[in-house]
Subunit: 272 residues, 2 copies
């Protein structure tokens, strides 16, 4: 998907919501466990219920991988089911050297037809650039993550006082463009979002951590919004596990719509 | 596998060789493509040919993942085929927040029964520790990688002059022990291996980059050897693609044996 298409969908749906498909066999409603492919059945109903309120879906690959072949099958079927005008993110956090990164890229971009994949920066340029060779596909680099462990290395300052996450932003932004490179920026550090926005004014951010992890949508918008909107705010558990019974899809729709309404207000205030 | 079992195998086989199963459909001998599962057929013959010369096998997950369900099947069959007394490494370079890391850990340690998995450190403590909760299983943290991009972030010095890779060693070594934590340390930076050894004297290193990438076995042993040997030196392409014809397994055996002989000399000189 091209950037202008994503931006157009954000305007049309008045939403910059990404729904995280962290579909866990231990957490989905029990009545689905009798179906042939409970993971896909759950995703299908969640997608039907939320597709009008979001512009992106983000399956976290760990939840599919842990089921082996069967999990991959559920993931393939889910990818085929997601409507074409919705941006797809493989939350895989991959990263390896050149040739191997190319294989990961082929897996997610060609075999599974994702629009984007999350990538870890530790191994540097030749671990990231192989993912940037695919037309209309995106790399989403981990910059400032929303977890407690982010403090261990991401805020380490060099002799000039530059934090590691800023160096990651600065260096990686030379390898791609705002047309093929986004960043993971956690909502739990709203001031951090402002710092990231100063460093990379034109790139989209994928923002986890709103809701369950305690980040605020208003803060994210205040610090992160740019002329393209520039934000994809993710919610996983808060939406997909909003209900536990047979009406789980309806509950998910309500939870997604509530966030979309908040986003609509933010977009409206910006004149979108 | 416990550390003492690994050390005993190194002594018995007079080898600290790890064979990288980076099995690529585009690179394996053409006559195998007619078999039902060419990837597994190749691995099976490579394992039969090399198992007496090595103490570890390391499938790089990218090569299996890119084939989807079928690739996972080949990987499962390969894992079942590897003899029990050989240490297994899932070269997956995973890393995610707490709960999700647990799912990756379950995938590799329980579902596929690997002894160890490679993990990226960028997200910090809660991305690494979930992998450390499994008995007799190992985490192998990326510290100093063998690729060119390693220079981008791993050597960044903080205000006190400590490089990022050293900080990674220092911090992560507080989360695990030499009984469940190893490090990836590239052979292309032999002096680096010495620095790493000073920082973490008791942990095993998984050392890629000998052979095709230009690292020297003698240098690795000189700088990295400790009282447990402390080294697993990986070779992938140099062994598994040593031959291209119907005798590929024989050629792989010869390549593996040649390295094992060099290792035998090193071990002998150390009185092992």
């Amino acid at each position: 998907m091209k950037k202008e298409e994503l931006v157009a969908e954000i305007k049309r749906k008045q939403s910059f919501l990404c729904v995280g498909l962290d579909t866990d066999l231990n957490k989905i409603p029990k009545h689905l466990l009798d179906t042939e492919d409970p993971i896909f059945e759950f995703n299908k109903q969640i997608i039907d219920a939320t597709k009008d309120y979001c512009v992106a879906y983000k399956p976290n690959i760990a939840f599919y991988e842990c089921l082996g072949k069967k999990g991959w099958e559920s993931l393939e079927k889910t990818m085929e089911y997601i409507p074409e005008n919705i941006f797809t993110i493989a939350d895989a956090k991959r990263g390896d050297i050149g040739n191997t990164s190319s294989y990961y890229a082929k897996t997610f971009f060609e075999y599974l037809n994702f629009d984007s994949v999350t990538v870890a920066p530790y191994m540097g340029e030749d671990s990231v650039t192989p993912f940037l060779q695919f037309e209309d596909k995106w790399v989403i680099v981990l910059a400032l993550t929303s977890n407690a462990g982010a403090l261990d290395f991401q805020f380490v300052k060099d002799a000039q006082g530059e934090e590691l996450y800023k160096k990651v932003l600065r260096k990686t932004s030379e390898w791609g463009t705002p047309e093929n490179l986004m960043y993971v920026v956690g909502a739990t550090r709203a001031e951090g979002i402002g710092e990231v926005r100063k460093t990379v004014p034109n790139n989209f951010f994928l923002v986890p951590g709103v809701g369950a992890q305690g980040g605020s949508l208003e803060d994210v918008a205040q610090y992160g919004f740019n002329e393209d909107c520039g934000l994809l705010v993710n919610s996983s558990r808060g939406i997909i596990y909003a209900g536990q019974g047979e009406d789980f899809a309806q509950k998910a729709a309500e939870a997604a719509q509530a966030i979309q309404q908040d986003m609509h207000k933010i977009l409206q205030a910006k004149g979108w």
